[in-house]
């Protein structure tokens, strides 16, 4: 019954030694498995294979929270992969301090990373004790509202220009049988939505006070209370979207079943794969159309220390490849994210991406929560937010009280 599989296995065992006389295999783990993401990874792999090495794909599905434990276990267990994705920020901090990661400073100096990579905060979070340990690959920001033009046409209201108009249009959408706001059930989505509300409704200062300075008094203040009220509105609008994954929620917007979704710019990749055009089929509002600030996080590749000359060389080559201008453009166009270099040509970018690039160029940039808060604090926030968004039994006031506790003990 398994002739096919056997043939495939045979073919694989035979083909490997032939095709790769001088090449080094490098296993790369990541959690990019949605349609747009996989296409983008394909670009990276293609570019790396072109250097004469071979990209062994180690995708682990089910978002970062499934994948990271596995990556960390393997690195601490002494069986590291060649390279691995983490989010920008503090996820790999301790692994670096423990000396488990390869120092990329030489590669970075050769490629003048310090000059070309912007915003500088990206490279800063790769830097520990003056040495660089990761290669940033893209910039993502959470502060986007994606709207389905079709859904609003069906409901007979104009496509909103900002969050407030969207809230006002929600009853009409509901009347037309359309889910106003799509929200996946995974905790990180509720958490990201809430942080977006802080930046877009509350503004830059309150965001920095709460997350950067961890000021519990501000967190308990009336400004934050307003944001919890907005979150409560969002909760009502999201009631009934029974999906788990973010891209299932995005798909509701793509198909016009939902009015909109607050989701990072990676949602862009899904619209693109579905063949939708920005402006005519869907609209995007950075900063929810209120405060056009973007918090720039994203993904970076880390390279575990491997005692194997060949592999180390291949790791350096992969690091170079990732920051290469051409690869940056090809990858980020597919992924829907922004390149980490300011000096690349993104004429091919669509309207939404151009908006993002403009905001970046203006310098309306904030540091992402992944960089500001520890994973522990993030997880506690996720627990709170997923509970808050799932059940109306928690009042905004109660939620704020618990939020203040988290901020007070945050690190």
């Amino acid at each position: 019954m398994n002739i096919r599989a056997m043939a495939a296995t045979l073919a694989a065992t035979v083909a490997l030694p032939f095709g790769l006389a001088n090449a080094t295999d490098l296993e790369v783990t990541h959690w990019w498995t949605s349609g747009g993401e996989a296409a983008a990874v394909g670009e990276l792999a293609k570019a790396f294979d072109a250097t004469g090495n071979k990209w062994i794909d180690g995708a682990i599905a089910g978002s970062g929270s499934t994948a990271r434990p596995i990556m960390i276990s393997r690195i601490t267990g002494g069986d590291p992969m060649g390279a691995t994705q983490f989010n920008h920020g503090r996820q790999a901090e301790e692994l670096v301090q423990e000396g488990l990661m390869r120092d990329l400073t030489e590669v970075a100096e050769k490629g003048k990373w310090k000059e070309v990579i912007r915003p500088a905060s990206l490279l800063d979070s790769c830097t520990i004790d003056g040495k660089i340990y990761c290669a940033p690959v893209n910039i993502h920001s959470w502060q986007w509202l994606w709207l389905s033009n079709d859904a609003f046409k069906t409901a007979g209201v104009p496509v909103p220009k900002d969050w407030n108009e969207f809230v006002a249009a929600a009853p009409k959408l509901k009347e037309a049988g359309i889910q106003p706001l799509a929200l996946g059930g995974q905790p990180w989505q509720a958490n990201g939505l809430f942080d977006t509300l802080i930046i877009s409704i509350g503004g830059k200062e309150i965001y920095e006070k709460v997350y950067q300075e961890k000021d519990a008094e501000v967190a308990a203040g009336p400004e934050m209370a307003k944001i919890f009220q907005a979150a409560s509105q969002a909760r009502d609008m999201a009631k009934g979207s029974n999906v788990q994954d973010w891209n299932q929620a995005t798909n509701m917007v793509i198909t016009g079943k939902a009015g909109g979704q607050i989701m990072g710019d990676w949602a862009q990749g899904e619209f693109q794969i579905a063949g939708k055009t920005a402006g005519t089929d869907y609209s995007c509002l950075p900063g929810l159309g209120l405060n056009e600030y973007l918090a720039t996080g994203g993904d970076a590749f880390y390279f575990p220390l491997i005692e194997d000359e060949e592999k180390s060389k291949a790791q350096d080559i992969l690091a170079e490849t990732i920051v290469d201008p051409k690869v940056q453009v090809a990858f980020n166009l597919k992924k829907g994210s922004l390149p980490v270099r300011g000096d690349v040509d993104v004429a091919a970018a669509n309207d939404c991406m151009k908006k993002g690039i403009d905001i970046l160029a203006k310098g309306s940039v904030l540091i992402s929560t992944d960089q500001l808060l520890s994973q522990d604090t993030q997880k506690q926030k996720e627990d709170l937010m997923s509970e808050f968004f799932a059940s109306t039994s928690i009042t905004p006031e109660d939620a704020q009280k618990r939020f203040v506790d988290i901020i007070a003990s945050a690190d």
Partner: protein, 314 residues
């Protein structure tokens, strides 16, 4: 050697008892075919059977439908147009990241993990159970109690210490490492089964062999092993199912090119590209479950027999 002959006869006699015990139902004889009692009896069994069969039916039916038909609704309706495409896709084409070869890769990996893990874990547990039942030494019951409590520890809790132990042994990420892990976590329940089974054998057998001068290993191989076939079948079924279905160890202790089928199943099910392809997911689920399912369908009878033959005697 005459004694061994007697022993064998005793053993055969015991087997016959076990046979009788294991095979015949014992209730009152059924009277008329359509008595109210029979209607109640078969009615209840029938309804229960429906509950157990429903999910399997849904899985099979869904895996044979095309996506448009699934979107239309009713999961219980039979397919209007049967398609095997989801099966082909699940087996050979579904993508995770860049690898678009479906479950096929994982199948042989699972086999490679399964065979040594089952053999080693059962060998170790049967010997432990034998020495607990027949060759007690000071502290043996204490170790056994610890082992039984170990059965209650969630695997997730033990992952970190096990990672450290495997790292120190230098076998992290190897097949040996994974076999060790399966042996460790299969041990509590298996040892319990073997211990109870060996303890339920007539103690005269063991004593006679000792008088003959047979030692630890010769009694194990020449007397216990041949008599323990039913319980070996039970242990094998439990281990084949458990190891084949394992996800956690498979993903933490292997690499992408040696991922077992369950990890690939998770990857396929969770890599949503646009919409969830329920039909492909269901086909993948059935394909992944096929091996243990076949084991159960083929040897379910032996399973109950084996349990009846002593696994449940205290």
């Amino acid at each position: 050697m005459a004694d061994i002959g007697t022993l064998n006869r005793t053993a055969a006699g015991f087997d016959a008892v076990a046979d009788r015990v294991a095979s015949g139902p014992r209730g009152r004889r059924p009277r008329r075919a359509l008595s109210p009692r029979n209607i109640m009896l078969y009615g209840t069994l029938f309804v229960a059977a429906l509950y157990y069969l429903l999910p399997l039916y849904v899985m099979v039916v869904t895996s044979l439908k095309g996506m448009p038909e699934i979107r239309m609704g009713n999961i219980f309706s039979p397919p209007m147009e049967i398609t095997f495409e989801p099966w082909v896709k699940a087996w050979a084409e579904a993508c995770t990241g860049l690898n678009c070869d479906g479950l096929s890769r994982g199948f042989w990996n699972s086999v490679r993990i399964l065979v040594p893990s089952v053999v080693v874990s059962i060998a170790v547990a049967s010997v432990s159970g034998y020495s607990l039942a027949n060759w007690r030494f000071k502290g043996s019951e204490l170790f056994f109690s610890i082992l039984i409590i170990g059965a209650f520890i969630p695997y997730q809790v033990m992952i970190y210490p096990v990672v450290i132990v495997l790292r120190e042994l230098g076998v992290y990420g190897t097949l040996t490492g994974l076999v060790i892990v399966h042996t460790i976590f299969g041990m509590p329940i298996l040892t319990l089964l073997f211990r109870n089974y060996f303890a339920s054998l007539p103690v005269e057998l063991f004593k006679a062999a000792r008088i003959d001068g047979a030692g630890f290993w010769s009694i194990y191989f020449r007397i216990m092993l041949p008599m323990a076939l039913p319980i070996f079948v039970v242990a094998m079924i439990l281990q084949v199912t458990g190891i084949w279905n394992d996800f956690l160890f498979g993903v933490v202790f292997t690499r992408p090119d040696t991922y077992p089928m369950t990890v690939q199943l998770n990857n396929i099910v969770n890599s949503v590209q646009g919409v969830k392809e329920y039909n492909v997911n269901m086909a993948a689920t059935l394909l992944t479950g096929a091996v243990p399912l076949i084991v159960y369908f083929v040897s379910g009878r032996l399973f109950v027999r084996g349990i009846a033959a002593g696994a449940v005697k205290g």
